[in-house]
Amino acid sequence: MNTCKIVVADSDSKSREIICGFLKKKGYLVHTAADSSSALRVSRSIMPHLVIMDVNLVGGNAYKTARIIEDDKISNVIFITNKLDNFFYDWLKTMNIYAYVVKPLNLEQLFQTVEFSINNVNRLNELKTKIEQLETSLKNRKKLDRAKGIVMKMLNISEDEAYGYLRKKSMDMCISIDVVAEKIIKKYG
């Protein structure tokens, strides 16, 4: 995991330096941001594996900034906080990773949380992609079945013939069979 990119967004220059220096020693590629807007700009520029964000980041609400980073699928965020209250825990539940670091910093704890987060995120992302793929193929399958039904009824042919018909159309038109199915459903369905 040594080539992982991390953005450290903390307005406290001393704490930023400590975290940055420590993570660099651990082999990460670290970029820093001192305010919300630059956290967004840097993150969008380098698409890091993880963003570590202090909840007291200036220049905009840190929670909202973190939400943008996760909503726009730029990266995942773990918070650094000095105030563990209900609001924080409630917000944490809505984030991709349920992990945080407290101030004053324990660097070993920070390292463990970072490693844990990056590894879990990788696994999570793999699963997400798999689910998305499955969902798409299921959707396409349903579409194809519906289009087949329409063709069978219209041309009074068997299911195999209907499939053959759709495949031929797809090859003739140089478009995927799913698109052909979609067009047929739209026009005749």
């Binding site: 307005s11 970029h31 807007s37 969008r44 520029s45 380098i46 200036v58 943008i68 909503d71």
Partner: protein, 444 residues
């Protein structure tokens, strides 16, 4: 935006999309979008036109003793904000009504609607396509906008990513999801300057679209750590941001009436008269198309913005250009408006100018074929070419003299526009700028 539905259908749609918050939007007289946010539970009440707000808290609306007003949502303007994932948000653009159920005459959207009705009674429908420019600047560590553009910012050292271009693409995606048809988008002349053009539509929809566009651009910029500004001239020495308006009239069947295949320039008599009206009243409506002190710093020679009141079918320098396309795309491009204008009022006033041209058969002066920027003072004088007002104060005086344009606004809006502009000018006149200090502090 592409939803044209009745109340039940809209409620169903909102439930299906799991929308949680609805923004009821309207525009104040100075062109700033205002917003009353309700939860989805209150939507039915809003659709029954029962949502009230305090009109006295809005610039240029009403006095405190007559403050309760109603928001009447236009269902066809329903759109979900595509950038809201966690708690879905949507909006409805509203008209403002008085307590007694009559349209509030200080609501700019009502002003435009009234003007469009006048056009309709003459058998015309105004179609408009805007070209809206804006700047993207970086923000500083406090989140305040700076004048540093992403183009020359240091982040390129990090990675070769065009943050501004990326943000613009996200804006286009969001606008498309909200029902816009985007025609073109590109980086403009100045560093950090961008333009996104969307397809023409009827005037009311275009005015709504301009307001929505500005909101989307600002929000997406913010999500990118950038600040979008529609200020007409934010930087000295580079082009300002304009909002050219491509205008055409259609008859009630939707056929373009500016087109005439037989004529030399393939323009109809109606087109010439509309053009004549736009030119005759140009000095008077400028305070509406260019309503800020800063607007007039864009309207100076040398930066592709118009200065002289002239027209041309061939070159881009004068106030009005007739783009080469003909047929249904025949149109007149008014080049002076800037994006600080209230689009409802700017369109109402320019439409009135054009219609007056048609009613009184005003012929435009001869077109200018040479580059007007290179024209000498003598030639300008000889051809009796007038110029646009040089500042907000002059523009205001020009409006005061012109009863036709004043009538397009109605008494209430006119008075508020005047007091807003007067206040602006007074504040500006009091201010001692850096330019003056640099120029005079040592000299005198």
């Amino acid at each position: 935006m592409n939803y044209q539905k009745n109340k039940e259908e809209l409620l169903r749609k909102v439930e299906e999309l799991e929308v949680e918050f609805i923004h009821l939007q309207f525009t104040d007289i100075v062109g700033i979008m205002k917003d009353v946010t309700i939860t989805v539970e209150q939507l039915e009440k809003a659709l029954d036109n029962k949502i009230m707000f305090d009109g006295s808290s809005i610039d240029g609306f009403v006095r405190i003793e007559e403050s309760d007003m109603y928001l009447i949502p236009d269902l066809s303007t329903f759109a979900v904000f595509p950038w809201t994932n966690f708690h879905k948000e949507a909006r409805l653009i509203c008209d403002v009504y008085n307590m007694d159920g009559t349209p509030f005459e200080g609501c700019p959207r009502n002003t435009l609607k009234k003007m469009l009705k006048e056009a309709e009674e003459m058998g015309y429908k105004l179609m408009v396509g805007p070209e809206c420019e804006f700047f993207l600047f970086n923000t500083d560590e406090k989140g305040n906008p700076s004048l540093e553009t992403h183009d020359d910012a240091g982040y390129f050292d990090l990675a070769p990513v065009d943050l501004g271009g990326d943000a613009r693409n996200q804006m286009i995606v969001a606008l498309k999801e909200m029902g816009f048809r985007i025609e073109a988008s590109h980086h403009e002349g100045a560093p950090g300057q961008h333009e996104i053009d969307f397809e023409y539509d009827d005037a009311l929809k275009t005015a709504d679209n301009i307001m929505t566009f500005k909101m989307v651009v600002r929000i997406i910029a913010q999500r990118n750590g950038l600040h979008a500004t529609f200020m007409p001239k934010p930087k000295i020495g580079v082009n300002g941001s304009g909002m050219h308006l491509n205008m055409s009239l259609a008859d009630l069947e939707g056929k373009n009436v500016f087109n005439d295949q037989e004529e030399e320039l393939k323009l109809s008599e109606t087109a010439y008269h509309f053009l004549g009206g736009l030119m005759k009243h140009a000095r008077a409506y400028t305070v509406l198309t260019n309503p800020t002190v800063n607007s007039y710093k864009r309207l100076v020679p040398g930066y592709e913005a118009p200065v002289l009141i002239a027209w041309s079918a061939s070159n881009r320098s004068p106030l009005i250009r007739i783009p080469a396309e003909r047929g249904e795309a025949t149109r007149i491009e008014l080049r002076s408006p800037d994006p600080s204008a209230n689009p409802y009022l700017a369109l109402a006033a320019t439409l009135k100018a054009g219609l007056d041209g048609i009613v009184n058969k005003i012929d435009p002066p001869e077109q200018v074929t040479s580059n007007i920027y290179e024209m000498g003072a003598e030639e300008i004088e000889e051809r009796a070419i007038d110029r646009l007002p040089i500042n907000l104060y002059q523009a205001l005086q020009e409006l005061a003299k012109n009863e036709i344009i004043k009538s397009s606004l109605g008494e209430h809006v006119y008075r508020r526009v005047v007091s807003a502009a007067q206040y602006e000018w007074k504040e500006y006149s009091k201010y001692v700028s850096q330019w003056e200090l640099d120029r005079y502090l040592r000299k005198y």
